[in-house]
Protein backbone atom coordinates (compact mmCIF):
# COMPACT_ATOMS: atom_id res chain seq x y z
CA UNK A 1 0.00 0.00 0.00
CA UNK A 2 2.63 2.38 1.15
CA UNK A 3 4.80 1.40 -1.70
CA UNK A 4 2.09 2.04 -4.25
CA UNK A 5 1.52 5.46 -2.85
CA UNK A 6 5.18 6.10 -3.00
CA UNK A 7 5.35 5.02 -6.61
CA UNK A 8 2.52 7.27 -7.52
CA UNK A 9 4.07 10.16 -5.68
CA UNK A 10 7.30 9.50 -7.41
CA UNK A 11 5.60 9.38 -10.79
CA UNK A 12 3.86 12.70 -10.28
CA UNK A 13 7.12 14.22 -9.13
CA UNK A 14 8.65 13.09 -12.39
CA UNK A 15 5.85 14.63 -14.39
CA UNK A 16 6.23 17.88 -12.48
CA UNK A 17 9.95 17.75 -13.13
CA UNK A 18 8.94 18.70 -16.59
CA UNK A 19 9.08 18.08 -20.27
CA UNK A 20 12.85 18.29 -20.30
CA UNK A 21 13.01 15.32 -17.99
CA UNK A 22 10.70 13.33 -20.22
CA UNK A 23 13.08 13.81 -23.10
CA UNK A 24 15.97 12.36 -21.18
CA UNK A 25 13.87 9.42 -20.02
CA UNK A 26 12.87 8.75 -23.61
CA UNK A 27 16.37 8.86 -24.96
CA UNK A 28 17.57 6.14 -22.64
CA UNK A 29 15.03 3.66 -23.99
CA UNK A 30 15.77 0.96 -26.54
CA UNK A 31 15.71 2.11 -30.18
CA UNK A 32 12.56 0.25 -31.21
CA UNK A 33 10.74 1.44 -28.12
CA UNK A 34 11.88 4.97 -28.86
CA UNK A 35 10.50 4.90 -32.41
CA UNK A 36 7.27 3.30 -31.22
CA UNK A 37 6.73 5.91 -28.51
CA UNK A 38 7.42 8.84 -30.79
CA UNK A 39 5.22 7.46 -33.59
CA UNK A 40 2.34 6.77 -31.21
CA UNK A 41 2.63 10.12 -29.44
CA UNK A 42 2.72 12.08 -32.66
CA UNK A 43 -0.20 10.17 -34.10
CA UNK A 44 -2.29 10.64 -30.96
CA UNK A 45 -1.66 14.37 -30.91
CA UNK A 46 -2.39 14.80 -34.63
CA UNK A 47 -5.64 12.88 -34.24
CA UNK A 48 -6.81 15.24 -31.50
CA UNK A 49 -5.54 18.49 -32.93
CA UNK A 50 -7.94 20.03 -35.42
CA UNK A 51 -5.53 22.88 -36.19
CA UNK A 52 -2.79 20.51 -37.26
CA UNK A 53 -5.25 18.48 -39.30
CA UNK A 54 -6.38 21.53 -41.21
CA UNK A 55 -2.80 22.34 -42.12
CA UNK A 56 -1.64 24.78 -39.43
CA UNK A 57 2.05 24.63 -40.29
CA UNK A 58 3.27 26.54 -37.27
CA UNK A 59 1.56 24.18 -34.84
CA UNK A 60 2.72 21.15 -36.77
CA UNK A 61 6.31 22.33 -36.66
CA UNK A 62 6.02 22.96 -32.91
CA UNK A 63 4.87 19.39 -32.41
CA UNK A 64 7.73 18.04 -34.49
CA UNK A 65 10.19 20.27 -32.67
CA UNK A 66 9.07 18.97 -29.30
CA UNK A 67 8.53 15.29 -30.04
CA UNK A 68 10.58 14.25 -33.00
CA UNK A 69 13.63 16.41 -33.54
CA UNK A 70 15.39 15.68 -30.26
CA UNK A 71 15.77 12.10 -31.47
CA UNK A 72 17.48 12.98 -34.75
CA UNK A 73 21.07 13.79 -35.51
CA UNK A 74 20.84 16.10 -38.48
CA UNK A 75 24.54 16.88 -38.60
CA UNK A 76 25.35 13.25 -39.22
CA UNK A 77 22.49 12.91 -41.66
CA UNK A 78 23.68 15.96 -43.60
CA UNK A 79 27.30 14.87 -43.66
CA UNK A 80 26.34 11.54 -45.15
CA UNK A 81 24.02 13.12 -47.71
CA UNK A 82 26.72 15.59 -48.76
CA UNK A 83 29.27 12.78 -48.92
CA UNK A 84 32.89 13.37 -49.82
CA UNK A 85 32.58 17.14 -50.12
CA UNK A 86 31.63 17.39 -46.46
CA UNK A 87 35.32 17.24 -45.60
CA UNK A 88 36.12 20.38 -47.52
CA UNK A 89 33.29 22.37 -45.98
CA UNK A 90 34.10 24.98 -43.32
CA UNK A 91 32.43 24.67 -39.90
CA UNK A 92 30.15 27.59 -40.78
CA UNK A 93 29.14 25.89 -44.04
CA UNK A 94 28.48 22.67 -42.16
CA UNK A 95 26.20 24.48 -39.75
CA UNK A 96 24.34 26.18 -42.61
CA UNK A 97 23.99 22.98 -44.61
CA UNK A 98 22.67 21.12 -41.59
CA UNK A 99 20.17 23.83 -40.74
CA UNK A 100 18.83 24.15 -44.29
CA UNK A 101 18.64 20.41 -44.89
CA UNK A 102 16.83 20.02 -41.61
CA UNK A 103 14.28 22.67 -42.55
CA UNK A 104 13.69 20.89 -45.86
CA UNK A 105 13.20 17.47 -44.28
CA UNK A 106 11.05 18.73 -41.42
CA UNK A 107 8.77 20.40 -43.92
CA UNK A 108 8.33 17.15 -45.86
CA UNK A 109 7.70 15.30 -42.66
CA UNK A 110 5.16 17.88 -41.54
CA UNK A 111 3.15 17.22 -44.68
CA UNK A 112 3.34 13.49 -44.15
CA UNK A 113 2.17 13.28 -40.57
CA UNK A 114 -1.31 14.57 -41.33
CA UNK A 115 -1.65 12.03 -44.12
CA UNK A 116 -0.49 9.28 -41.78
CA UNK A 117 -3.05 10.23 -39.17
CA UNK A 118 -5.28 7.19 -39.61
CA UNK A 119 -2.68 4.80 -40.90
CA UNK A 120 -1.73 1.85 -38.82
CA UNK A 121 1.90 2.02 -37.74
CA UNK A 122 3.59 -1.17 -36.60
CA UNK A 123 7.11 -0.96 -35.23
CA UNK A 124 8.77 -4.34 -35.35
CA UNK A 125 10.59 -5.54 -32.27
CA UNK A 126 14.35 -5.31 -32.40
CA UNK A 127 16.83 -7.76 -30.95
CA UNK A 128 19.30 -5.38 -29.46
CA UNK A 129 22.68 -6.71 -28.42
CA UNK A 130 24.56 -4.83 -25.71
CA UNK A 131 27.50 -4.20 -28.01
CA UNK A 132 25.37 -2.70 -30.80
CA UNK A 133 26.16 0.87 -31.68
CA UNK A 134 24.12 1.03 -34.86
CA UNK A 135 20.73 -0.50 -35.55
CA UNK A 136 17.91 -0.39 -38.04
CA UNK A 137 14.40 -0.32 -36.64
CA UNK A 138 11.86 -1.53 -39.15
CA UNK A 139 8.28 -0.40 -39.22
CA UNK A 140 5.27 -0.71 -41.45
CA UNK A 141 2.72 1.92 -42.26
CA UNK A 142 -0.52 0.48 -43.46
CA UNK A 143 -3.32 2.42 -45.01
CA UNK A 144 -6.67 0.68 -45.08
CA UNK A 145 -6.95 -1.35 -48.26
CA UNK A 146 -3.37 -0.98 -49.47
CA UNK A 147 -0.28 -3.07 -48.92
CA UNK A 148 1.98 -1.77 -46.15
CA UNK A 149 4.87 0.56 -46.86
CA UNK A 150 8.06 -0.09 -45.01
CA UNK A 151 9.63 2.75 -43.07
CA UNK A 152 13.04 1.90 -41.64
CA UNK A 153 14.96 4.07 -39.21
CA UNK A 154 18.71 3.80 -38.85
CA UNK A 155 19.99 4.87 -35.45
CA UNK A 156 23.37 5.06 -33.83
CA UNK A 157 24.38 5.30 -30.24
CA UNK A 158 25.59 8.71 -29.31
CA UNK A 159 26.78 8.53 -25.73
CA UNK A 160 23.86 6.89 -23.95
CA UNK A 161 21.24 8.08 -26.41
CA UNK A 162 20.05 6.61 -29.67
CA UNK A 163 19.78 9.07 -32.52
CA UNK A 164 18.13 8.56 -35.88
CA UNK A 165 20.31 9.55 -38.81
CA UNK A 166 18.59 7.93 -41.77
CA UNK A 167 15.05 7.04 -42.73
CA UNK A 168 14.21 4.72 -45.60
CA UNK A 169 10.71 4.74 -47.05
CA UNK A 170 9.86 1.71 -49.19
CA UNK A 171 13.53 0.83 -49.11
CA UNK A 172 14.63 4.23 -50.35
CA UNK A 173 17.06 5.92 -48.02
CA UNK A 174 16.79 9.66 -47.56
CA UNK A 175 20.54 10.06 -47.37
CA UNK A 176 21.22 8.11 -50.53
CA UNK A 177 18.41 9.79 -52.35
CA UNK A 178 19.76 13.26 -51.69
CA UNK A 179 23.39 12.40 -52.29
CA UNK A 180 23.24 12.65 -56.09
CA UNK A 181 21.23 15.83 -56.06
CA UNK A 182 23.63 17.42 -53.59
CA UNK A 183 26.60 16.23 -55.60
CA UNK A 184 25.26 17.91 -58.72
CA UNK A 185 24.60 21.17 -56.91
CA UNK A 186 28.11 21.14 -55.47
CA UNK A 187 29.63 20.39 -58.85
CA UNK A 188 27.78 23.35 -60.32
CA UNK A 189 28.22 25.92 -57.56
CA UNK A 190 30.35 24.52 -54.76
CA UNK A 191 29.19 24.08 -51.18
CA UNK A 192 27.85 27.62 -51.14
CA UNK A 193 25.87 26.82 -54.25
CA UNK A 194 24.22 23.93 -52.48
CA UNK A 195 23.45 26.04 -49.43
CA UNK A 196 21.92 28.66 -51.68
CA UNK A 197 19.78 26.09 -53.52
CA UNK A 198 18.52 24.65 -50.26
CA UNK A 199 17.74 28.10 -48.96
CA UNK A 200 15.83 29.01 -52.11
CA UNK A 201 13.91 25.77 -51.96
CA UNK A 202 12.98 26.31 -48.32
CA UNK A 203 11.85 29.85 -49.06
CA UNK A 204 9.64 28.58 -51.88
CA UNK A 205 8.16 25.93 -49.63
CA UNK A 206 7.52 28.45 -46.86
CA UNK A 207 5.75 30.70 -49.36
CA UNK A 208 3.56 27.71 -50.19
CA UNK A 209 4.62 27.99 -53.80
CA UNK A 210 2.69 25.79 -56.17
CA UNK A 211 4.97 23.96 -58.57
CA UNK A 212 7.88 25.05 -56.42
CA UNK A 213 10.27 22.36 -57.60
CA UNK A 214 12.36 23.28 -60.56
CA UNK A 215 12.29 20.82 -63.35
Amino acid sequence: MNRRFFNRFFASALIVAGIGGAQAALAATAPDELIRTVATDVQTIVKQDKAIQSGDMRKTLELIDAKVLPNFDFARMTSLAVGRDWRSATPAQKTDLTAEFRTLLVRSYANAIVRFKDHQITVKPLKLKPEDTEVTVRSEVRKAGSPPDSVDYTLYKKGEEWKVYDVAVAGVSLITNYRDAFGEEIKAGGIDGLIKSLRTKNAQNAAGGEGAAKK
Binding site: K94, T95, S146, P147, V172, E185, K215
Partner: protein, 249 residues
Protein backbone atom coordinates in the same frame (compact mmCIF):
# COMPACT_ATOMS: atom_id res chain seq x y z
CA UNK B 1 10.33 -21.07 -73.69
CA UNK B 2 10.71 -18.03 -75.87
CA UNK B 3 11.02 -16.04 -72.70
CA UNK B 4 13.97 -18.02 -71.46
CA UNK B 5 15.86 -17.74 -74.74
CA UNK B 6 15.16 -14.07 -74.69
CA UNK B 7 16.45 -13.85 -71.13
CA UNK B 8 19.61 -15.71 -72.00
CA UNK B 9 20.28 -13.37 -74.90
CA UNK B 10 19.71 -10.44 -72.61
CA UNK B 11 22.16 -11.74 -70.05
CA UNK B 12 24.82 -11.93 -72.74
CA UNK B 13 24.02 -8.43 -73.83
CA UNK B 14 24.37 -7.14 -70.31
CA UNK B 15 27.63 -8.86 -69.70
CA UNK B 16 28.95 -7.45 -72.95
CA UNK B 17 28.47 -4.01 -71.51
CA UNK B 18 30.96 -3.85 -68.66
CA UNK B 19 30.43 -1.69 -65.66
CA UNK B 20 29.83 1.35 -67.81
CA UNK B 21 27.17 2.23 -65.31
CA UNK B 22 29.61 4.21 -63.20
CA UNK B 23 27.31 7.09 -63.78
CA UNK B 24 23.88 5.58 -63.69
CA UNK B 25 22.54 8.03 -66.23
CA UNK B 26 24.66 8.27 -69.38
CA UNK B 27 21.74 9.33 -71.54
CA UNK B 28 20.52 12.07 -69.23
CA UNK B 29 19.72 14.63 -71.95
CA UNK B 30 17.38 12.18 -73.68
CA UNK B 31 15.91 11.13 -70.35
CA UNK B 32 15.28 14.69 -69.28
CA UNK B 33 13.52 15.39 -72.56
CA UNK B 34 11.37 12.30 -72.07
CA UNK B 35 10.69 13.27 -68.50
CA UNK B 36 9.48 16.71 -69.59
CA UNK B 37 7.30 15.13 -72.22
CA UNK B 38 5.74 12.72 -69.74
CA UNK B 39 5.36 15.43 -67.15
CA UNK B 40 3.61 17.72 -69.61
CA UNK B 41 1.30 14.96 -70.71
CA UNK B 42 0.55 14.13 -67.10
CA UNK B 43 -0.30 17.72 -66.34
CA UNK B 44 -2.75 18.18 -69.20
CA UNK B 45 -4.26 14.70 -69.36
CA UNK B 46 -3.52 12.01 -66.81
CA UNK B 47 -3.53 14.04 -63.62
CA UNK B 48 -6.84 15.84 -64.34
CA UNK B 49 -8.30 12.47 -65.26
CA UNK B 50 -7.05 10.93 -62.04
CA UNK B 51 -8.39 13.85 -60.01
CA UNK B 52 -11.79 13.48 -61.63
CA UNK B 53 -11.70 9.76 -61.02
CA UNK B 54 -10.72 10.19 -57.37
CA UNK B 55 -13.54 12.69 -56.88
CA UNK B 56 -16.17 10.62 -58.66
CA UNK B 57 -15.39 7.09 -57.50
CA UNK B 58 -15.76 6.42 -53.77
CA UNK B 59 -12.73 5.01 -51.98
CA UNK B 60 -14.12 1.50 -51.34
CA UNK B 61 -14.74 1.08 -55.07
CA UNK B 62 -11.21 2.24 -55.84
CA UNK B 63 -9.78 -0.15 -53.27
CA UNK B 64 -11.86 -2.96 -54.74
CA UNK B 65 -10.65 -2.21 -58.24
CA UNK B 66 -7.06 -2.02 -56.97
CA UNK B 67 -7.48 -5.46 -55.40
CA UNK B 68 -8.99 -6.82 -58.61
CA UNK B 69 -5.93 -5.64 -60.56
CA UNK B 70 -3.57 -6.89 -57.88
CA UNK B 71 -5.10 -10.32 -58.17
CA UNK B 72 -3.86 -10.40 -61.76
CA UNK B 73 -0.50 -9.07 -60.65
CA UNK B 74 -0.16 -12.06 -58.36
CA UNK B 75 0.28 -14.24 -61.44
CA UNK B 76 3.66 -12.74 -62.47
CA UNK B 77 4.51 -12.55 -58.75
CA UNK B 78 4.14 -16.31 -58.52
CA UNK B 79 6.01 -16.99 -61.77
CA UNK B 80 8.91 -14.72 -60.89
CA UNK B 81 9.21 -16.03 -57.36
CA UNK B 82 9.41 -19.48 -58.90
CA UNK B 83 12.08 -18.32 -61.35
CA UNK B 84 14.06 -16.90 -58.45
CA UNK B 85 13.83 -20.18 -56.58
CA UNK B 86 11.66 -18.76 -53.81
CA UNK B 87 9.29 -21.68 -53.65
CA UNK B 88 7.56 -20.72 -50.42
CA UNK B 89 6.75 -17.27 -51.76
CA UNK B 90 5.58 -18.71 -55.07
CA UNK B 91 3.27 -21.13 -53.28
CA UNK B 92 1.92 -18.29 -51.17
CA UNK B 93 1.19 -16.29 -54.34
CA UNK B 94 -0.69 -19.22 -55.84
CA UNK B 95 -2.63 -19.51 -52.59
CA UNK B 96 -3.46 -15.83 -52.79
CA UNK B 97 -4.81 -16.16 -56.31
CA UNK B 98 -6.91 -19.17 -55.31
CA UNK B 99 -8.34 -17.50 -52.20
CA UNK B 100 -8.92 -14.07 -53.70
CA UNK B 101 -10.41 -15.33 -56.95
CA UNK B 102 -12.99 -17.37 -55.07
CA UNK B 103 -13.75 -16.08 -51.59
CA UNK B 104 -12.52 -12.65 -52.59
CA UNK B 105 -15.06 -12.49 -55.42
CA UNK B 106 -12.77 -12.39 -58.47
CA UNK B 107 -10.11 -10.60 -56.47
CA UNK B 108 -12.14 -7.57 -55.41
CA UNK B 109 -11.57 -8.37 -51.73
CA UNK B 110 -8.06 -9.22 -50.63
CA UNK B 111 -9.01 -11.98 -48.20
CA UNK B 112 -5.61 -13.63 -48.54
CA UNK B 113 -3.91 -10.74 -46.77
CA UNK B 114 -6.34 -11.22 -43.88
CA UNK B 115 -5.17 -14.80 -43.73
CA UNK B 116 -1.59 -13.61 -43.50
CA UNK B 117 -0.60 -14.34 -47.08
CA UNK B 118 1.08 -11.07 -47.89
CA UNK B 119 1.29 -9.70 -51.36
CA UNK B 120 4.71 -9.72 -52.97
CA UNK B 121 6.08 -7.39 -55.55
CA UNK B 122 7.93 -9.24 -58.30
CA UNK B 123 8.50 -8.83 -62.00
CA UNK B 124 10.90 -10.15 -64.58
CA UNK B 125 13.25 -7.19 -64.19
CA UNK B 126 13.73 -8.20 -60.56
CA UNK B 127 14.24 -11.81 -61.57
CA UNK B 128 17.00 -10.77 -63.95
CA UNK B 129 18.50 -8.70 -61.16
CA UNK B 130 18.39 -11.70 -58.89
CA UNK B 131 20.14 -13.71 -61.58
CA UNK B 132 22.96 -11.18 -61.53
CA UNK B 133 22.05 -8.98 -64.46
CA UNK B 134 23.05 -5.39 -63.73
CA UNK B 135 20.36 -2.78 -64.14
CA UNK B 136 22.20 -0.96 -66.91
CA UNK B 137 21.62 2.73 -67.52
CA UNK B 138 18.56 4.59 -66.37
CA UNK B 139 15.99 5.12 -69.09
CA UNK B 140 12.88 7.26 -69.03
CA UNK B 141 10.38 5.65 -71.36
CA UNK B 142 7.73 7.63 -73.17
CA UNK B 143 4.40 7.23 -71.33
CA UNK B 144 5.72 4.48 -69.05
CA UNK B 145 8.21 6.64 -67.17
CA UNK B 146 11.27 5.59 -65.13
CA UNK B 147 12.99 2.33 -66.05
CA UNK B 148 16.41 0.88 -66.74
CA UNK B 149 17.74 -0.99 -69.72
CA UNK B 150 17.26 -4.28 -67.86
CA UNK B 151 13.77 -3.47 -66.69
CA UNK B 152 12.76 -2.27 -70.15
CA UNK B 153 14.04 -5.48 -71.72
CA UNK B 154 11.97 -7.39 -69.18
CA UNK B 155 8.72 -5.68 -70.11
CA UNK B 156 7.60 -8.10 -72.86
CA UNK B 157 8.04 -10.98 -70.44
CA UNK B 158 5.99 -9.12 -67.87
CA UNK B 159 3.28 -8.68 -70.47
CA UNK B 160 3.16 -12.38 -71.31
CA UNK B 161 3.35 -13.53 -67.70
CA UNK B 162 0.67 -10.97 -66.78
CA UNK B 163 -1.82 -13.56 -67.85
CA UNK B 164 -4.53 -11.12 -68.81
CA UNK B 165 -4.49 -12.08 -72.49
CA UNK B 166 -5.24 -15.64 -71.43
CA UNK B 167 -8.10 -14.80 -69.09
CA UNK B 168 -9.73 -11.91 -70.92
CA UNK B 169 -10.36 -12.54 -74.57
CA UNK B 170 -11.67 -9.21 -75.71
CA UNK B 171 -8.94 -6.76 -76.65
CA UNK B 172 -11.29 -3.86 -76.00
CA UNK B 173 -12.00 -5.02 -72.45
CA UNK B 174 -8.31 -5.63 -71.83
CA UNK B 175 -7.38 -2.18 -73.05
CA UNK B 176 -10.08 -0.44 -71.02
CA UNK B 177 -8.91 -2.36 -67.99
CA UNK B 178 -5.33 -1.23 -68.55
CA UNK B 179 -6.50 2.32 -69.05
CA UNK B 180 -8.48 2.30 -65.84
CA UNK B 181 -5.54 0.71 -64.08
CA UNK B 182 -3.27 3.58 -65.12
CA UNK B 183 -5.78 6.16 -63.90
CA UNK B 184 -6.31 4.29 -60.63
CA UNK B 185 -2.56 4.04 -60.03
CA UNK B 186 -2.15 7.72 -60.78
CA UNK B 187 -4.98 8.60 -58.38
CA UNK B 188 -3.15 6.74 -55.63
CA UNK B 189 -0.18 9.03 -56.15
CA UNK B 190 -2.05 12.33 -55.90
CA UNK B 191 -1.27 12.59 -52.20
CA UNK B 192 2.43 11.94 -52.52
CA UNK B 193 2.86 14.53 -55.20
CA UNK B 194 2.98 17.59 -52.98
CA UNK B 195 5.61 15.89 -50.85
CA UNK B 196 7.70 15.31 -53.94
CA UNK B 197 7.31 18.93 -55.04
CA UNK B 198 8.49 20.17 -51.69
CA UNK B 199 11.25 17.68 -51.01
CA UNK B 200 13.05 17.69 -54.34
CA UNK B 201 15.72 20.18 -55.33
CA UNK B 202 15.48 18.72 -58.79
CA UNK B 203 12.49 16.50 -59.43
CA UNK B 204 14.14 14.61 -62.25
CA UNK B 205 17.12 13.64 -60.09
CA UNK B 206 14.91 12.85 -57.13
CA UNK B 207 12.68 10.51 -59.12
CA UNK B 208 15.67 8.86 -60.77
CA UNK B 209 17.34 8.11 -57.46
CA UNK B 210 14.12 6.98 -55.94
CA UNK B 211 13.46 4.60 -58.79
CA UNK B 212 16.97 3.11 -58.85
CA UNK B 213 17.10 2.63 -55.09
CA UNK B 214 13.61 1.23 -54.98
CA UNK B 215 14.40 -1.30 -57.67
CA UNK B 216 17.60 -2.37 -55.95
CA UNK B 217 15.63 -2.83 -52.77
CA UNK B 218 13.00 -4.89 -54.56
CA UNK B 219 15.57 -7.12 -56.26
CA UNK B 220 16.89 -8.00 -52.81
CA UNK B 221 13.43 -8.15 -51.24
CA UNK B 222 14.14 -5.42 -48.75
CA UNK B 223 17.70 -6.35 -47.80
CA UNK B 224 20.03 -4.89 -50.39
CA UNK B 225 23.76 -5.08 -49.76
CA UNK B 226 24.83 -2.00 -47.86
CA UNK B 227 26.66 0.46 -50.07
CA UNK B 228 30.27 0.74 -49.05
CA UNK B 229 31.89 3.93 -47.95
CA UNK B 230 28.83 5.34 -46.25
CA UNK B 231 30.60 5.86 -43.00
CA UNK B 232 34.09 7.01 -43.98
CA UNK B 233 32.88 10.53 -44.42
CA UNK B 234 31.52 10.66 -40.97
CA UNK B 235 34.36 9.04 -39.08
CA UNK B 236 36.82 11.74 -40.06
CA UNK B 237 34.59 14.59 -39.12
CA UNK B 238 32.77 13.13 -36.19
CA UNK B 239 33.81 15.77 -33.74
CA UNK B 240 33.51 18.86 -35.91
CA UNK B 241 29.84 19.54 -36.50
CA UNK B 242 28.61 18.28 -33.18
CA UNK B 243 27.48 21.67 -31.96
CA UNK B 244 25.17 22.10 -34.91
CA UNK B 245 23.20 19.02 -33.93
CA UNK B 246 21.42 21.03 -31.29
CA UNK B 247 21.36 24.34 -33.07
CA UNK B 248 18.30 26.48 -33.22
CA UNK B 249 17.89 29.01 -35.92
Amino acid sequence: MRASIFAAALCLLMQAMPAAAQTADPIEPFNRAMYSFNDGLDRVALKPLAQGYAAAVPLPARVGFGNFINNFRDIPNAINNLLQGKLGEAASDVGRIALNSTFGILGVIDVASEFGLERHNEDFGQTLGRWGVASGPYVVLPLLGPSTLRDTAALPVDYYTGGRHLVIESVAVRNSLSGLEVVNDRANLLDAEKALDEAALDKYVFIRNFYLQRRLNLVYDGNPPRPKGDDDVWDETDAAPDASAKDKE
